[in-house]
Symmetry: C2
């Protein structure tokens, strides 16, 4: 456009980027022309020139249908987008299969092809190699969760500093103990994830603090079927039967409740059930699920904010270093991304211990 509609190319550039050295009349003419032609700078050209793509990447190393069944991920994405959208950033999603190198390839492409300014990682794993990879690739990264070992990667998690991480689980155990429960079981997920292990440990610690030991810990998988199987085993032997069960997440807890009901146990009369995450499904079912709630949407927002901060610093070499305060310019660097610690939400799936 530019030349055709008014003046010269650099004038246009200066106007759209709010650079000084433009007279009000010229400025206005450019704005008018842009308006009339419905023109706006080509993102590709800008990216080519300046290395800013205004897109953040996410790679999900799971199959499409597993992902579809797991709302956790989509809730997180909602949060991330909530922050990205106003800054006019896009989210570039890449769902790759379960094969380990598919994931690595995806990150490599993202980096080599310069498609995104940075990536957000989730599902922190034990022995995670992604941080190192991303560092090699020079791709700014933010982790949602806790690194498996001390690592300089930027990360966000509910409760911020680790001190508050266990608050929800402690409240859950206290709640059960006050209801008279003494035999409390925990159904964990696959322990190659950091958060899975952390939650289980936090649970054990909370129980320990009340002088109790877990009745059972069943390591299973993150699927509804696995939850059902775990519950079945838990309820099989009458003499060791728990009166309450905590699950590693809401989906498993809901599946567990159904299984209990199917086996003839009424919730919460015969068995109390507690989930983790506080997904919408928890209040859809009957009885409504008591759960440890963490603000996943907020967590997503925090991750995006942290990413903006990271990019702001990275771009600091040549960009606008000061506070021009004009807003509407994307990455702002204000307060630290704080996410409230997990809390217990008592609904209907917990009650006094049977007998």
């Amino acid at each position: 456009m530019a030349a055709l509609a008014g003046v010269s190319v650099s004038a246009v550039s200066k106007v759209v980027n709010d650079r000084p050295g433009i007279s009000p009349p010229t400025r206005q003419r450019v704005l008018d022309a842009a308006e009339k032609l419905r023109w706006s700078p080509s993102a590709t050209a800008v990216a080519l020139r300046g290395a800013r793509t205004r897109a953040i990447g996410m790679v999900a190393g799971r199959s499409a249908d597993v992902l579809a069944a797991d709302p956790h991920f989509s809730v997180l994405i909602s949060g991330i987008e909530a922050e990205l959208a106003p800054a006019d950033y896009g989210l570039l999603l890449h769902i790759v299969g379960e094969e380990p190198d598919a994931e690595e390839r995806a990150y490599r492409r993202l980096a080599e092809e310069r498609r995104v300014d940075g990536v957000i990682l989730t599902e922190s794993r034990i022995g995670d190699t992604r941080f190192e990879l991303l560092r090699q690739l020079g791709l700014p990264a933010v982790l949602v969760g806790t690194p498996w070992q001390p690592d300089p990667i930027v990360s966000v998690r509910a409760g911020g500093d680790d001190l508050d991480q266990g608050a929800g689980l402690r409240a859950a155990v206290d709640h059960l103990v006050e209801l008279g429960h003494r035999r409390i079981a925990y159904v964990s997920g696959p322990e190659d994830r950091v958060h899975t292990v952390a939650r289980r440990r936090l649970f054990e610690a909370a129980l320990d603090a009340r002088g109790l030991r877990p009745t059972r810990i069943v390591i299973s998988e993150f699927t509804a079927d696995a939850a059902v199987r775990a519950l079945r085993r838990l309820l099989a032997e009458p003499e060791r039967r728990p009166t309450a069960v905590l699950f590693a997440n809401d989906t498993m807890a809901v599946a567990g409740m159904s299984a209990a009901r199917r086996l003839g146990f009424e919730v919460p009369r015969d068995l109390s059930v507690i989930g983790y995450d506080d997904l919408p499904v928890g209040s859809l079912v009957y009885p409504r699920l008591t759960t440890v709630s963490q603000d996943l949407v907020q967590l997503g927002r925090a991750a995006a904010t942290a990413m903006f901060r990271l990019l702001g610093e990275a771009a600091g070499t040549a960009g606008e270093p000061g506070a021009d305060g004009s807003g509407a310019d994307g990455p702002g660097a204000d307060g630290p991304p704080a996410v409230r610690p997990p809390t217990l939400v008592v609904r209907e799936s917990t009650g006094p211990a049977a007998g």
Copy 2:
């Protein structure tokens, strides 16, 4: 890279694009160099040059938390991604608020900034203005669903041609009638969506075919609360009380079942319930939800495939017109994207009519 690691820039270009006019040795040298340097063409530069961004856009005109609560969308995305990923296409997501012009702005940006090669639309609406807008913008578009009025836009839906669209609902009604139900209610969603109206009509037609009339049709909203309220009204007057209820989607159906249970009605003993979509949540609950199943993942794949076809044609003006058959090149143009018609999946939430 190129020059440094071997020969000349155009040689490299020819190699990576499988263009003729390269001797095997040269070719090999380029490949080796690229391998060693872990180099691959910059997506931005390619896009700038050739108008292909290898990204598809999607704009969701809903607030982040509404979206989070609705798995429908994420399942669809899984399907789309399943097709995009192997072709090395990315999905650029934009979640904008409910404000009407925010959505339009998002599409405009996508088009003006040339960030994507095309967009996939969902949630076909009555009086939808998006097709026209996209046409103006010159952005290739594929609709998941049926246009509200005859429109040249490319669209995909379960059952392909409209003839089979009602199969699931007919089966559902037949199933209920055979179980002895005569008073069958339908809880619809907001009728500004095409599919909402279509499903309700299909239901009425199916009922009509059996010589019955719907006991009640309650237009509500697509939320769990609304479903609960609707059900409450439905069960309020004993003399007109239905023995079976169909819901416009699974989430509402699950919420409805819980509400029934809370009101003292046992499902399916006192009330049969049928959902629509067949989302994972349906088999998580007790009793497991009988539902009209459509293959949402497949629908997503079909949309992506249709998009590739569209892009292939659009690019045909200057691109490779023939069948070079080398694969790995992205948009293939094979069979038509067929998605199986909706079918009834009978689980546990339906049973013989009470009394």
